[in-house]
Subunit: 363 residues, 4 copies
């Protein structure tokens, strides 16, 4: 349903970049969940990115919880997270509002909304709208943690630079939590930062890949048709601005393998069924098999660049030149990481509640 | 909702490999759509694959339309497609039913359904359940064609073998329609067939990638958040057994590009807004921009192989050996192509109806 | 979603009166539920009504379960119930198909489907389409019974004739199960049968009210806003052909009461919270309070009568006379009772699964 | 889905009586709809009721539109309506919070949310939560008016006092718009006001019935199964606190009629198909027939009364006495009228968009 996602645990998103406020409503929340406002604030802060890269718009991003929480615990009724827009400079858009920024949604917004869209700062398409997803996601992350389910994401590649793979999940996840630039190998991290810096110097931008692992998911969650773990996660993850690919386990690498290589053999280990390899990313037939979930996201480079670009004026239907000014990040992948973890957590809570009811999380 | 997909044009799937019948219910169908039973039959035939590869189970797969069609046109009420299972050999499953076939859903089904699943031939997880999707998809493909929207998919890679890219969309799509082994380059096609044959000889199997193009989609279709074209398509496509990756436009290739390379510049061409490149696959901000939709799927190798594999008996919780016997295909990617086109068509019809109402297709 | 109802336990209905088959798909079913085919058959038989009244269309109404049941238990995957249409007399509809039968949906179907509807025997609007609801409902009734939840419905009034109220719920429910004419007071039952007979003699028809009680529902089921017990039940019940009113507890009677009379006071009884009266029908704030659910349905008289009626031809847009011929019941209220119980059971299973997960019913 | 209603045009509700704010998110809104903030404010004012009756809580109820509106028109993205709670007296609830007020949801909230509900002022169950529904409904009413669709509701009965029936729809609807006590007959209005006053004097409360008419609805809107006009409207209307009965056309009166009386004969009038009577309330087979929609609601008396009542303490599980203090209305039916019109408008917009797409309303 358009701006709502989820079956039993749903998020409804609202807001525009330069409107009064942005926010979301989380429904289907179990009652009695402790709300850790400090953790929400910490996630909001992490989403803002590294100040050396993201010199851009600085908002306080104070999350107000308007409903559904009483005496610091969820009541079981809808939780509305709201963030007021403060820094909405009354910039003059008259010269650029009809120019389609390449890689952006200006032209498609015009075609979808017939000229009535709020064009200021990308409006409803702005990356800023991910802020309430991060707020709601923080609650979902807490819910999962309380059941021993942990999520970790690193930048697995950027340009030609590769991060090392996960080695010890628990340690790596812990390390990533503390990093605003989530790269496991220190050397790769420094190289990526330099790569971003050089792109900025050229007025250009960079993308990359994000690799996520989720540990502690019980087996038997997900549905064989349509509401598979892959289908549900990808539906949410592709909403994140800039995500253009989602793959599970070895993903596109599986396409070049033989069945005898790709199949994950099973063995009994410590009394439980365990897959010896995890090429399928913890999912068979759309359902978790108890192994860590593993997936990878392709993040395209930020479309806002300072180089001159060819485009059109979609009102006059004439060719035009575009030179974007103002505040823009040469990289958003480290910020997209926080959003990806949030959407992952929200989706997994939904799948767990679909399978086990709200009781899974307590009351 | 579990076995239902779609917002306004929905498919509800049912059936098990060795049950009485499989089928699906298509709801939200505009009234007055002509039903081309010969085209449905042709798609069903194409889904069966190439006889030289797929020596496997041969079913007549006669599609019965139980409802929603009158005097050869849709009535606007739910269309139930049903296919009776005929060739359900009363094989003895007693030795293997508790062994988790690697890469299959036997173990996850046990964890999901608590031992009550129909284990015969993969039950509800069987690739056979895609047959009704192809029947419903054939109707959706006809609906799209009537509005000038065409879908073409080829096997873009298999092992180290690459097919050529699309050159002339209209001609290539037309060529692919006639091919049961959908490879554009004749040489690559022969190599892929030989590659499959050699895998078969070893008792092994192969995967590959599928590349799809959709021409004729109007601009302005899709939603910015959650029900983006990417989110909706991936949700459906990941349901297809064996699909482990979905990417749009240049997909994972975008991750290594700079913004200045990745952005698709716009120009006015023949009086319409046109993107000069199509790195974003015809989608900006989740909404179609009028360019061809382009996406790629990773298809893992068929998990059923004849080589001996390590596994477990999930009832006795002991390690076990497995040697699969019976009928299995060394490749299903050319068959998955038909399913992918069907799911694509069903999803695009849904998105078009969400945007323009059922009137888009006539009544 | 049009022909689907339910949130977590959903029914998707298909079929036309004179098509190949009618049926429904039940999804979200817990696995491991025993399927009592004899009970399903008994409910189907009860739905056919009393032969002395319903001399009409006689179908075998053999329910085929196409999927989702294995070794007599639900597998947890969608259950498709199908009933083939046998007695579809190739009657000539050419004279009447464009005449709007008063009280029927012929004209609205024309407006909704633009002339493509299957007009034979009422098509998708036929009361016959309730047969699959009764089949699915029988499974839901069994599920509820296994948890001590029982449903009983009687004809509380017809014309000026009133049945007595429920006295002993358990005994009355048991008595009603055995009755094809569900009237508690024997004298009222005889009077109602005579009243129906006299209407038939005049070529006319009768309606009435149905009063339902559900015992054993746990407290705490339902949602405050929108998915209240009243909202969910009424949504389903108004789908039953001929239902034009739904009220809970004292219903319209509450409108004339004072708050001091209408409020149900609470007392502790046998260690549990108990309402001293049940004017609110077991529901406060949309949520069950542990008292019996009580509601009443208004059933309009069967619109098919033999008297000559004024109408129009909606193709020629001219006034016309109509004399309906063929097989029609002077009363369907005793048959609607079976459908009402089925829809009630399906909805309550959905509400219970929303609240407690599928585990409420076992696995 | 719990706190969301609608298929294509959806409302998601949030908030508690004494929380920070209450509100709702309206999604699926066509773009380009003019927003009449004065009309929204007028509806909010009307919802507050007559000051002589409702001496109760007085809030400014200033509606803030946080998103989805730009330059006074809808953008096509979600519209969030928010109302801050100002007058949330820090009353001491410690003595009464575990006492189940008869007719209220205190006990069912405890059973549903396990003790974590916000009990202050009824929390999420408070009638106050209807305020955002009225705000969103005002937009829906404007949308309908722009297409010539008008809604009028009067108090058709209270105690033994009856209002006259609708006579001239257009005039009566117009008259009702101007009335805070919506009774057509002046004498009946005065009697009802006196009746309320006498109930107040006794510390008691009154209910009544509301009768609604909707003119201008096109024929062919609604679905035969499940999403019938009756099913959709009743689902929403039963969410309104105090509504315990919904009936269409002659409603429960139909139960005592013969088919020959109940059937609405058709005639051609001014070139269109017209029903001579409107016993079916403008709906046949769940679909509008072009006649005015007519339905009636049973509103129970306000459960908050000042008389001493028997109840229980659901924490100590002991019997208790209750004497409610504080601010309460002896009648809310005239306020419920505004909510009923709002829910009706929201539901009809959904049904119209389901049938004709968002284009029905312009863009």
């Amino acid at each position: 349903m358009k701006n709502t996602i989820g079956n039993c645990f749903t998020v409804t998103l609202f807001g525009e970049s330069h409107g009064k406020a942005i926010g979301c409503v989380l429904d289907g929340v179990p009652s009695g969940i402790e709300v850790d406002e400090a953790f929400i604030a910490a996630q909001m802060e992490k989403r803002k990115g590294i100040s050396s890269i993201s010199t851009a718009r600085r908002e306080a991003d104070e999350v107000k919880i308007l409903s559904g929480v009483f005496e610091n615990r969820t009541t079981g009724t809808p939780v509305c997270f709201m963030i007021e827009n403060a820094d909405t400079k009354s910039k003059d858009y008259s010269l650029t509002k009809d120019l389609a920024r390449p890689g952006h949604a200006d032209y498609t917004a015009e075609m979808r909304y017939g000229g009535f869209q709020d064009y200021r700062g990308g409006g409803h398409f702005s990356g800023r709208i991910t802020a309430p997803l991060v707020a709601a996601g923080a609650l979902a992350i807490s819910m999962l943690k309380s059941k021993g389910i942990e999520i970790g994401t690193h930048i697995s590649s950027m340009g030609e630079i590769k991060d090392r793979d996960f080695e010890n999940y628990a340690e790596d996840i812990k390390a990533l939590e503390g990093l605003s630039m989530p790269v496991l190998c220190e050397k790769a991290r420094a190289e990526m930062l330099a790569y971003i810096e050089s792109a900025r110097a050229e007025g250009d931008s960079v993308g990359g890949t994000l690799a996520t692992v989720v540990t502690g998911m019980p087996a038997g969650v997900g549905e064989p048709w349509f509401d598979s773990v892959e289908g549900m996660l990808s539906h949410g993850l592709f909403s994140i601005p800039g995500i253009k690919g989602v793959s599970f386990g070895r993903g596109f690498g599986l396409a070049a393998m033989k069945g005898s290589e790709a199949n994950d053999e099973f063995r009994i280990k410590d009394g439980t069924v365990t897959a010896v390899t995890n090429n399928n990313g913890g999912i068979n037939g759309g359902i978790t098999n108890g192994m860590p979930l593993e997936f990878t996201l392709a993040v395209k480079p930020t479309p806002s660049i300072y180089k001159k670009q060819n485009t059109v004026n979609f009102k006059t239907m004439e060719n035009a030149d575009l030179e974007i000014k103002g505040r823009h990040d040469p990289a958003i992948i480290h910020r997209a990481r926080v959003v990806a973890d949030s959407v992952t957590a929200l989706t997994l809570c939904d799948l767990l509640i679909m399978r086990f009811g709200t009781q899974f999380f307590g009351k």
